[in-house]
């Protein structure tokens, strides 16, 4: 324990906070596993073995990393601009539908035309969906937190309508698009696994986001606007523009996540494209301290958790929804680190009181 805190002390403050929060969440998770009557060691071993212990497991984890990281990057950029965009889920759906529609319509086009067209249309669709919330905020001062959540529900119903109607595969019974031709699919990177080129898209996106935030004037302005809008305005910055960039970047990246799920995993647009990636990505963005590479690392961790959980459920009998609990706890511990000095104070007071009591007895 002592060496652990020594290691944490040497890390930069933000990183140490994130690591400590993850450890604490896993600790509580262990207590829950024990409550089920299973050894936490067995359960966690099964989890990580499944997620990281084999080429296929690792590939699956990386596949799952892609949507979490892309949505997380988008949300992080929005947060940096002071925009609480929690609409990545809906933006992902809209992006996926756009990619699916273009992929089906453009069947026959060569891959180097079709894939970029699908990606671009997904980004435009996601950004446009996010743009609705931007207009509502900038024009009508409607709080984006609620509008983006509402737009998530609207998007899912809208996509459901499209898949039951105009985009439905005419030769199938299910509410989904026709299967994409091989030219409309992201190439597989590792034979025998599902690992697709989407992970490369993630790395490029993270690098670009990093350069944007720390080396570009627009990124500087976006950060200033996010930290203090009034000061940004006073310094002559175009606050509305920075806020708009935050919204659009989030929508475009979430849309891209929809594209990569459609072109890399499902190979068609389906009704249940995402089991809540856009929501988990909020935690990913926070855990990554809204820094692009931190977001990718956090996405990888949560992906491993989700992939391993299914195996843990079948091997150890722990409900796989434990991962959702752990993910939520990570945030609570992350923002709860200010409590540590308070708890320290309380313990010290308790110690004093006990000492006084001891003296009185003596």
């Amino acid at each position: 324990m002592g060496s652990m805190s020594a290691i944490l002390a040497r890390l930069p403050a933000g990183l140490a906070g994130s690591v400590a929060a993850v450890l604490a969440a896993f600790l509580v998770g262990a207590a829950l596993i024990a409550a089920v009557g299973v050894s936490p060691v067995t359960a966690y071993a099964a989890l990580f073995e499944a997620a990281l212990g084999s080429a296929n497991g690792l590939a699956e984890t990386l596949v799952r990393t892609v949507p979490l990281a892309l949505c997380g990057l988008g949300i992080a950029l929005a947060f940096r601009a002071g925009v609480f965009n929690v609409g990545a889920e809906g933006q992902l759906f809209v992006g996926g539908a756009a990619a699916g529609a273009i992929g089906v319509a453009g069947a026959g086009l060569p891959s180097f035309v079709l894939l970029p067209a699908m990606a671009l249309s997904a980004m435009i669709a996601g950004a446009a969906w996010s743009g609705i919330a931007a207009v509502l905020k900038l024009r009508f001062r409607a709080d984006e937190l609620i509008t983006t959540i509402m737009l998530n529900y609207v998007a899912i119903h809208l996509v459901s309508f499209l898949l039951h109607g105009p985009l439905k595969d005419p030769n199938g019974a299910l509410a989904q698009t026709a299967r994409l031709t091989s030219d409309g699919r992201l190439p597989v990177l590792l034979g025998g696994t599902r690992l697709h080129a989407g992970i490369l898209v993630v790395l490029v996106a993270a690098l670009l986001a990093h350069l944007f935030l720390w080396r570009r004037t627009e990124g500087f302005r976006l950060r200033v606007v996010g930290l203090n809008q009034r000061a940004a305005l006073n310094a002559g910055m175009n606050v509305r523009r920075a806020v708009l960039i935050g919204f659009l970047a989030c929508g475009a990246l979430a849309g891209l996540a929809g594209f990569s799920e459609v072109a890399g995993v499902q190979r068609r647009m389906i009704e249940n494209l995402s089991p809540g990636y856009g929501y988990t990505a909020i935690i990913v963005a926070l855990l990554g301290q809204t820094s692009p590479f931190g977001v990718v690392a956090a996405a990888f961790l949560f992906a491993a958790l989700q992939i391993g959980a299914t195996t843990m459920e079948s091997a150890a009998g722990v409900p796989s929804t434990l991962t959702t609990v752990i993910q939520g706890l990570v945030v609570l511990f992350l923002i709860g680190r200010d409590a540590i000095p308070l708890i320290g104070d309380a313990l010290a007071r308790l110690g004093d009181a006990l000492a006084r009591l001891g003296r009185r007895r003596a």
Partner: protein, 516 residues
Amino acid sequence: MTETPPLLSMRGIRVAFGAVVANDDVDLQVAAGEIHALLGENGAGKSTLMRVLAGLIVPVAGEVMIDGAVEPLGSPHEAMRLGIGMVHQHFMLVPTLTVAENVCLGLPSTGRFLPDLKAAARRIRDLASRHALEIDPDARIADLSVAGRQRVEILKALFRGARILILDEPTAVLTPQETEGLFRILRALAAAGTAIIFISHKLNEVMALTETITVLRQGRVAATLRTADTDARALARLMVGADVRLPTLDDERAAAPHDDGKSDAAARPILTVAGLVCRDSDGVARVDGASIEVGAGEIVGLAGVDGNGQQELAEAIVGLRAAEAGRIAIAGEDVTRGSVARRIALGLAHIPEDRQHTALVEPLAIRDNFAVERIGEPPLSRRGWIDRKAVARLASEVMAAFDIRASGPGQTAGTLSGGNQQKIVLGRALSRDPRLVVAVQPARGLDVGATAFVHRQLLARRAAGAGVLLVSTELDEILALSDRILVVYKGRIVGAMARRDISVERLGLMMAGKAA
């Protein structure tokens, strides 16, 4: 041989916030019926000492005695029980509630579960008439004038049975005439046996009102003396510890005999405001047809009691607030609808009152705070790519020029002292060689040394040919620096005065909205 103990006696009070000692070994004695001044600069520890008395801060050492008995003071309830009442500098009134509701707040004796507002209103009327305080218990605080709110604050303390009444800088928000009214109320209260502690840094008020003066300097008692035995000059020396004089425009003129303040200012207006109207979110006109002209090479002081639209006027000029009607021009160019960026490009520099929220980005490093206005220009960036070395270089230069004390340009701005933060704001605004400076309360919260620095900088910009609009509620500051003085009242410019015609009495009448 027993002597009646004083009503209030504080002994050896020590308060520390981390490493900063705010009060050190402070003694203070106040008798019933006495008006006692607590005098000191910003940051001398006056407010801290009074918060100890109000039960809001627990000192690490020292004791408080009431009627000769040592009393534990750890909560506002405790202070109230002992008859200590405080009128805070920023009124502690809930604006959306009525007078009676405000008075009943936190007072279980008016009804533990269901406060009896009608009974409270009766008692308020009764108390108010006894002390000649004009108050309607059913009025909403938000609808009262500033002086009216202050009367409610005093009444709130009396309602709670205050025998010791503390007033923290009570005249800052009042016109000279309203100040006279307050003094009459305080003298009457003292005559009825209330001990009054009057916190101020205004020497003339302290001399006019009080009987005894305790001067605080850097958290310690510099002296306790009878008002009759001292004068303003001696008090000033005790406050700052040395003979510090603030620079004035007269020094400037004495040094440059050709400077008669008239130069060719009128011929070259750098700022023109005509018929400006601004409304707040409730549709109330905060600026109501104001017209102002500031020429190159002059300082125009905009005097007025706080809350008469000067804040909104300044915000409109710098582009933070939309103008509903009227016209604003900087260096001859109409910027009424122009962006802040356009105004900055035309030579505007803004020193806002609320520097922590309007000027600084506290979580960012000092160097980034210097870069916010010109990150898009070379050498700080080229084709959108930031040159981080150039950003650091600029920061080092300005930090040296404006004597900003920090560990380096990488230090977070929010961790600096108030004086150094203000220097960052000044440095950023003035190092660009602006043609128009809009300075709002530029010395608020600063000690004498920092104030002198700020005033010298403003005079230097004037000498360099810039126009300066100085917005301040501190009449002394306006009088010391202005070539011309304009008075704002309820959003209108109600009077103008050249330096040679200045009359404080006329200014006071104008500030109260009475034609003079």
